[in-house]
């Protein structure tokens, strides 16, 4: 039993260290590469609150989008957002299209963070302005 407790502890400690390291990497990366990890710790931005938030649909090219489970993850996460009316996932092109409710939107940083917290990465974001 000692062996299994040792192995279990070792695995979980390594996991915790790894998670912490990735979290720190993400914190540093927020100032530069937005494809790295960046948790949403503040209330999500809704409405046109900064210069990156523009009304209209948003097309997001997503890295790691290879299966239905991945697609469902993004659908679930964005479906919980008050500003989101609908989301369409195109597995062929690894593209999601976010349809916002009238007068509402999410800024680019929030979209990136939501996708990263879902376990995926953003390649680029394209806004279709009205």
């Amino acid at each position: 039993m000692k062996k299994i407790i040792f192995m279990f502890t070792a695995l979980m400690v390594s996991f915790a260290i790894s998670a912490q390291a990735q979290s720190m990497t993400g914190t540093h990366a927020e100032h530069g590469d937005h494809d790295n990890h960046a948790h949403v710790e503040q209330p999500l931005v809704q409405g046109a609150q900064d210069d990156k938030t523009v009304a209209g649909d948003v097309h997001v090219s997503v890295k790691g989008l290879v299966c239905d489970f991945c697609a469902r993850a993004l659908e679930k996460v964005f479906g919980k957002q008050e500003a989101v009316n609908d989301i369409d996932v195109d597995l062929d092109n690894k593209l999601i299209t976010i349809d916002f409710k009238d007068g509402q939107s999410l800024n680019d940083d929030t979209i990136r963070a939501l996708i990263q917290d879902s376990g995926y990465n953003v390649e680029n974001i394209h806004r279709v302005t009205e």
Partner: protein, 233 residues
Amino acid sequence: MRNVTRRNANWRKIFFGVMMTREIIFVFFVAVLVIANATVADARPVSYPGGWTMMFMNNGDANTAHLHYSPTAKYSVGYKFEHWRDRGFNLNAAQLNGLVKRWNEKDSQANFYVKGGIGIASERGTSNDDMAGFAGISTDWENRRLFFQYENRYTEAGNIDDFFGQSARVGWAPYEGDYGDLHTWLMVEVDHSPESEDSFTVTPLMRFFKGVHLVEAGMSNQGEALFNYVLRY
């Protein structure tokens, strides 16, 4: 107990028993790596934030059920039940799964997980219960047409049993379905249990995946049925 002969495994004992016979031909074969009569394929042990997953896995060695919840996309916590037929014990455990690293590329995804659990092993037919635990790793790579997976696990069932097992899988999708379509995979799983008489088992199988449901069915080279069901919501 430790040198379990798998030839005597009775597929009728398998949950959701499937009507499969030895006539089922091994349609696919791919040479693969190493692997055990004791590993259960815990595909994607971590879900999306807020996601629940139920997994029922059945093969020549064991029937297992695993219910887990993922607070974030980095880890999941859950309950695991395992019924080891020839080894003669049941295991009830709390299981923790962690996604150590994910590599997201434009057309592919790779993952490295650690998994562990602690609970109680109960020897069937006796009053012998003891603390038990298991730990292992899992790694996979997939794009929309190819799939590779390797995993291993060391299990210690107190004073009842202890064993190591590992498995590998190769999969190929004959077509690319879009989101919501029926996805079909042809796979081969190789299991390796170093301590068993028949230490290698090869199991061709088919995976069907639609919506929140994933079903896998196959037959090993030792005539043992495999049937897995995963529900993710």
